[in-house]
Subunit: 333 residues, 4 copies
């Protein structure tokens, strides 16, 4: 980050959860001014102590911001985001900007942008990756919306992004737009930011499942279900560690894996019931709209669906058919 | 079956489980003579009462059969079959035939046939489909081995096979070998019979999983996890029944499904833990040797693997990574 | 079909393609009266010669039908069906029934039914399986909508359905509603018919792909890419034929496979570029809404996507990565 | 690397291709002595100029090495490696070590180790990752065999490995064996090294395919097959670049992707025909032996199989079935 070169800006932030709170903090670390709101009063108070101007409702936020205003909505996708933007659209004035930094479905962005345009309001969608590490590492941002507005907000994005950091530059890269190297891009018109973020998450699911399957084989190679002379009692923590340097699978997800396995190689802390959010599903929908075969991305999603069930009706039907043709009685698990 | 036209033959049968016993019975119904052995004395006694000559050990069986002898081994694949054939090879005489009707891996057939040839013994592998229904419906048989020997045993295969039955003949079929229409084929040299049967089972897994997934969606469309206005409370028994006539998915597996659902639409009798036998795995191996993409056959196998586990190490690793980057805590199942 | 017992009814039919024309014919064979329309004059003339009353536009059809009218729309899903129903809704009178027999997405049915109810019009969705064989075999029908209206139209459904035929009755079936056994069901409220048909097609894709993969292995087992001593030159036509009797995979799709292979075992007549229609995709969407893992149904869909491409951008990216880490140059196909 | 602390050792290297040559070079950079052989004279001459002792055949290599000898075989897996080790086993003396650094199937390692033990020769298997970048980045090594022998050779492994480098240490890691952090592990007895490397490659396939599918969706989102108002013309080079910093999918494979896309975003240089080596297949075999569901790893392998074909027999069969039931004629690609 180049603190010296950029303008100090003011941003309204709605939603002070894990993401919204840290976005405010990272901006303040870079000398920007934040006006914050959360329906939870304690969250507001916390940020106020750290330097934000906390307000008690949306009209107060609008009143507290200089024109043209910029407000970053960082709420759960769906109704909370939708209703907040709806309300803001009645409070804001032509030229103001609403930024949706959540995990909104990109087609909702397109619809909203069209609707807000009629009120001369700007809508910017920001797919934001970085999770709990964003405050420290910076946020990787994929931005959709009007190019000029994205430009206007550049000091904010520049401060939130990771920057070049210690990661080596891509050899042969000659692109003139250096924002990608600093960790954010203007992906295209409204919706394009969340579209790219959605695909990011789809890929993330696939990479995670690749590691999950591989480590499952490594772990069960020591299982007593195998004949003794076919077993290896492998040290999965060491394996994750060694792959971090010089191997083809080195990655941040592997770093996290090594971290988890260093202290809990049996992973006893986890039930194995794995949630999924909208992006994984929307990625499959997008693939179907575009006739792209995505066996890995879909298998990754389905593995999560399956992880949350003890047994499926489908499995029982398999047993029923097996009983039907072979008289096989399937024993209990 | 054309009982009038064929020779009445004599067959030794080793292994009187569900399959072996019924093979003896179906042959006797067609006026063939059977000499039977099973290590379980009660099984031998049962068949003896039904008309078989029961013998107490393998030498007795060899002594009881006319030359050239034909012995059908109907035992679990692997060691039981292997050891029995090994023993027989020391007892039989040039020109005798060993038939393996079990679920042997086809490469074992090839090896055995080569080894037995050195003793001038014949080896025939018979992939046998039909399960508990074979006695009534007849057995669909895929036969590997020397064409002349297969010819010699034809009266046996003809009697065991379903025959033309009430199933309409394939229009445009002009093949001169009518055995396929009567329910058995000479697939090729040793191993070819079990190879074709192996693929049959691979396809069977895929078809079963297709039904399993489809009925899972039908069933869960009534789930309380869905908003009330998106639910249909579908009658799965009626759906299976209606598809039996005039639909594209009509099949024997659907008949069995309709059967199972008619009395237990919740499938409460089944745990949902589904076994798999060697053929499904060998099918994937064959596909890999031949570079054939088999996403459906492999997914069907993996669904069974997964059905037998409460949770996997891989799923726990997904949770661990999610905790690592997002601070997500995965709740219990 | 029990021609004697049912009332002879009158039905309007819009769309005289392969399906609509044969529906008219099968109804006339059962002494029902049909009033038909197609924008193609020749199609109308053909049906008129066969006994239908052909009309030149929708107002003429409405005028020609007795009240309460019943009109079966048999058009491509999407705009053609939507616009036709929209027009009909302005021409029909309270109590009249619109039947959509096409491949409509079930959520469109729900929306339409709600909208038509406001005009006191009835809407019935009929998922119709049977393809080009329906005239002869009868149509398997899955019906959604108001139970009373479905009852009123029963003579039509009864005539169109396959009836019990020669297919053995499901043992243990005790359901009192015998429509399923005669080839049609009232699946539930509006949309339920097309929902069940959609899943039928999803399963169909999975079964087809299971056969495709299995026969691919059988065929390539004779490939010159394998060492000579590992090849079997298998007769795929005979294999399809033999499985038709007594095997677990016996099915109508196998009958069709045997038919195709009897005259063209190399399948040279086909390019291998395989289309898919909406149902396969909607099935995956439904599975995602209900969190049902569907690896086989999705893999089947993706195999079709892939079949229509020479090479994918994704594959090229794999090559690019391989070149990046290993210096591997991927040769031309 | 800690050049000062380790002994300088001597190593024989057989096979001076991309990997073997650079292994010799990296060892010499660290003051080890190398005796090299390749059947290609020019390759030997090149290394000789760079400081190796080049020998003309295996007996000469054995003669040139001090006892106890250590010879690293870096040849294609299968016959070339097998035959070389066979020959070495007749030339070496008790206490000598053969290291197989290639991509050998781990069951072959187990067999060889047992056989060589009878001659009092040691066998060490080293799964080696790093590709063309190994000279610069170091090689990530997974080692199987006798612990004492691995210890004896430690100076070599230490020099070849990447070392701690600039990669942050895993927090909470308390393992006392720091070799994993320096880029190599003793995974277990003979075969364990190649087993772990095999799984590494399986995971690699899955990660690569995840990226391939994701970028395919990104790229085709701009396709003219989509309605104009649903297209985004995305800059894939910028997307790959932006994800390198702060995103969850940051990884070495993404770095390589960014590299490739920086200069050729259409990937026109690649045919899209993707090879696979043994490890991907062996990983699936291992999963099947251990009953581990691996939908992602298998789908990744099958995508490569598919990439090498214009059309499959299976796809043609789908078309044939579709023609059978629906009269659909599939057009040319």
């Amino acid at each position: 980050m180049c603190v010296e070169e950029h303008h100090h800006m003011q941003l309204g932030i709605i939603g002070l959860g894990r993401m919204g709170g840290n976005i405010a903090r990272r901006l303040m670390l870079n000398d920007h001014t934040t006006v914050v709101y959360d329906r939870d009063e304690a969250s507001r108070a916390t940020l106020a102590k750290e330097g934000s101007t906390a307000v008690a409702d949306l009209p107060a936020m609008v009143a507290a911001l200089d024109k043209p205003r910029a407000i970053w909505v960082m709420l759960p996708a769906g109704a909370p985001t939708e209703e907040t933007i709806e309300t803001l659209s009645t409070l804001l004035e032509p030229g103001d900007v609403i930024i949706d930094g959540g995990n909104t479905f990109y087609k909702d962005d397109i619809r909203r942008a069209q609707s807000l345009t009629q009120k001369q309001l700007h809508y910017i969608d920001v797919g934001t990756s970085g999770g709990v590490w964003g405050l420290e590492r910076g946020y990787c941002m994929m931005i959709g919306g009007d190019a000029e507005v994205v430009k206007r907000l550049d000091p904010l994005f520049d401060s939130l992004a990771p920057g070049l950091g210690s990661i080596p530059r891509t050899k042969d890269r000659t692109a003139t737009d250096d924002r990608a190297e600093r960790g954010y891009i203007h992906a295209g018109p409204a919706g394009a930011g969340h579209f790219v973020k959605m695909i990011h998450n789809g890929i993330e699911y696939g990479m995670m499942q690749a590691f999950a399957e591989g480590f499952d084989i490594l772990k069960t190679k020591g299982s007593e279900n195998l004949p003794a002379d076919q077993r290896f009692d492998l040290n999965v923590a060491d394996i994750a560690e060694v792959w971090r340097r010089g191997s083809v699978v080195s990655s941040w997800l592997l770093d996290l894996t090594a971290d988890a396995l260093a202290t809990d190689p049996q992973l006893n802390a986890y039930s194995g019931s794995v949630a999924d959010s909208g992006e994984g599903r929307w990625t499959i929908e997008a693939a179907m709209e575009q006739s792209v075969p995505v066996p890995v991305l879909s298998s990754s999603l389905f593995a999560r669906f399956r992880s949350r069930q003890q047994s499926t009706y489908g499995d029982k039907l398999l047993s029923a058919m097996r009983f039907g043709f072979g008289g096989h009685k399937e024993g209990p698990k």
